[in-house]
Amino acid sequence: MTRVHRRVAMATAVLWAVATIALSWRVLKGIDEAARSREALYRAHASQGHAPSPAFPPSIEASALASVQQEERPLIVHDPDGVELVTAPVKDADDWEIIGAVALYGRWRECALRVAAPAIAVLVVALVLLGSASAARWSRPGITALGGVVAAGAAAALTLSQLQAAAAALAPRLVVPPTLARLALPSPSLAFAALALVLLAAAGALAVSAVHWHAEAAGRPARVRETLAAWGFIAPSLAHLLVFTIAPVGFLVWISVHDWDLLASDRPFVGLAHFREIGADPSFWRALRNGLVYALYVPATMVAALAAALVLDQPLRGIKVLRVVVFLPYVASTVAIALVWQWLLHRDFGLLNAALAAVHLPRVDWLGNPATALPALMLVSAWGQLGYMMVVYLAGLQAIPASLLEAARLDGADAWQRFRLVVWPMLRPVSTYLLLTGIIWSFHGFTLVYVMTEGGPAHATDVLVYRIYQTAWEFRRFDVAAAMSVVLCALLLALTALQWRVVKGEPADA
């Protein structure tokens, strides 16, 4: 990290801290006016009646809480360290029944520490990561930068969810002053406030560096001109990436730890509840397992493609035509492919079963039988990928110097030995690349499942993407779908990181 980066990081962290503290001050001020006590809120989330009661800090006497609930008014208690806490009862959304209590820190300082400190810590980590990525000190700046972006999103989400918890928990209980009402925004806008904060933080960091840079480059107009032009060229794509790729990562994590009911006006923080829900859902595990089994078509197809490439690796006339033909499945509309294969695999009138019948084999209900449905989809995918893999292998084979093979031949190596000792080691990088990109790609598959089986029969072909689609757009559980997406995202990120580790010499210069 250069000195400039360190300064930018510090400045942004300070800005962030000021913004966070100002925000929490406004919340506190609202609470103060309403409850006539100078308290901050301690993790008072999930108290809106339809969520489980909050877990109180163990340091607070249960009896004290009980009496708060009984007395229906704020009481002052002390935790074992002697820190003053104010507990307040929480009523349900109709302001009718008391459903819990919140414990508030008695002093403003402690509140600020608890609300702002974790977010600031995460932000500093984010900035350090981004800084070291930009200084290219780490060998993989992309991964580091991504970590930074994710951490920045997490910082924004963390700050906002805590502030929201503070506002939401007290809103039903207390007479809400206008300031607090404005802060206790309905959640959609809060989510977008998170997005706005990420963008704001990015803009702030940019502004700080711009000022710094301007002072440095003041005497060099050509450099100023070039920088402005370059940023102009980059601005459109950067804006799009920020809104549709970078911000959604943080937003995704945010949704996954909140309740997101399309109809409800509030979206309380629920921690890992959605992850627990999908963890307890056998169909999620089924989908994950199906995805892993489905991915096995990749190595299987690679073997076939390698065999084909070995046979075809010789001067043949018309091979160029083949090289075009094999890409048809990739280019063609996937729905069309799904349809024709469904027709080919038809139980009664499909061509495949007709062929089986012709050689006196029993007919198979390919897509109707849970045991064969997933293998059938794997077959279609293998057909789609075979040609591409073959072409890649062919290129790999032709890159092997003939002199190497000749030398092995002169040393008396037979065909198998030549393959094992010369060809295969040379093809290893290509194979790893094909394997990892193929597996990553296999987890993107949706169309075949959607058209051919709809995840059935009996969840036999349910895969994660299809689960996410159904959960969000058929069952309208966006929060649970987000939790699944986080799992999928983590899985694919891990695979991609592995791929980038293995494939050296990717565009990691700059």
């Binding site: 032009a229 370059a230 990562v249 048809l328 024709v340 995202c489 980038w500």
Partner: protein, 273 residues
């Protein structure tokens, strides 16, 4: 040398077999599309229609408003191509040619986005587009794929392989940065841009999941979604389904055959994202 000859025969045999395996489903699609509705229900099935029935195409394509679907798919594909080519050209050029403040961290951010799997971002992207009020609009349909980080890297790589003399000469002649880009650099990058355009077109044409969730009303459906729902409505009429499938294939195959060179260049760059 009989051994080499045997190998050659095996090679031609394998090539023929592979080509057949690859093409057969497409031929079967076409053949079924020309059969009579009940002709297909025979065991063993006829390989060719007794008499080709071209009316299947007109009937299938008017059973649902496919003209609208094709229009929507073309709009989606055109917007995707224009968006991805324009942004890839501009950003790729800037990253390759300009030395500017903030380049290194910015480049790291772009590399980072290359890692993020878009498929996992469906939910937040949808909710963001929803908050913008763009669900069930053309703008929402085209919004998310307007930029491809992949294309930016391809164009950048391409520019790095070109000499920059002409651009410098233009600058000395007093051309502005935009003129240098538009008049000098862009024409040179045509092959790379063709590759970006081709892959953008193919991806947009094949997209199903995003159009499915973002376009609720039937008159915003794209061809892929249209054929999929056609499949559900005329489940038993295989010739009609195959006719619709063939129609969905035609535009993208045409583009592919015209632009094979660009396709292979993209492949060499790791085009399968």
């Amino acid at each position: 040398m009989p051994k080499a000859r045997g190998r050659r025969v095996a090679g031609y045999g394998a090539a023929l077999l592979l080509a057949l395996v690859m093409v057969a489903p497409f031929l079967w699609m076409l053949s079924t599309a020309l059969m009579d509705e009940f002709e297909v229900y025979q065991a063993p099935p006829p390989l060719l229609p007794a008499s080709p029935r071209f009316a299947n195409f007109t009937e299938a394509l008017t059973a649902l408003p496919f003209a609208v679907y094709f229009r929507n798919s073309l709009i989606l594909a055109a917007a995707t191509v224009v968006g991805q080519v324009a942004t890839a050209a501009m950003a790729g050029y800037a990253f390759a040619r300009h030395r500017f403040a903030g380049r290194t961290p910015l480049f790291a951010v772009y590399l980072g986005t290359l890692m993020i799997p878009g498929i996992a971002l469906l939910v937040p992207r949808f909710l963001i587009v929803d908050a913008m009020g763009l669900v069930d609009t053309i703008a929402g349909l085209v919004s998310v794929e307007l930029v491809a980080a992949w294309g930016i890297f391809l164009v950048r790589q391409y520019f790095l392989s070109l000499p920059r003399d002409m651009e410098d000469a233009a600058r000395l002649d007093g051309a502005s940065e935009w003129q240098v880009f538009w008049r000098v650099a862009l024409p040179l990058a045509r092959p790379a841009l063709a590759t970006v355009a081709l892959f953008a077109f193919i991806d947009a044409w094949k997209a199903l999941l995003w159009p499915l969730i973002i376009a609720r009303s039937p008159d915003l459906r794209v061809v892929e979604a249209g054929v999929a729902s056609f499949h559900g409505m005329y489940y038993a009429n295989w010739p009609w389904q195959m006719a619709a499938a063939v129609a969905a294939l035609v535009p993208v195959l045409l583009v592919f055959f015209v632009a094979q060179k660009a396709f292979l260049r993209g492949l060499a760059f790791g085009g399968f994202k």
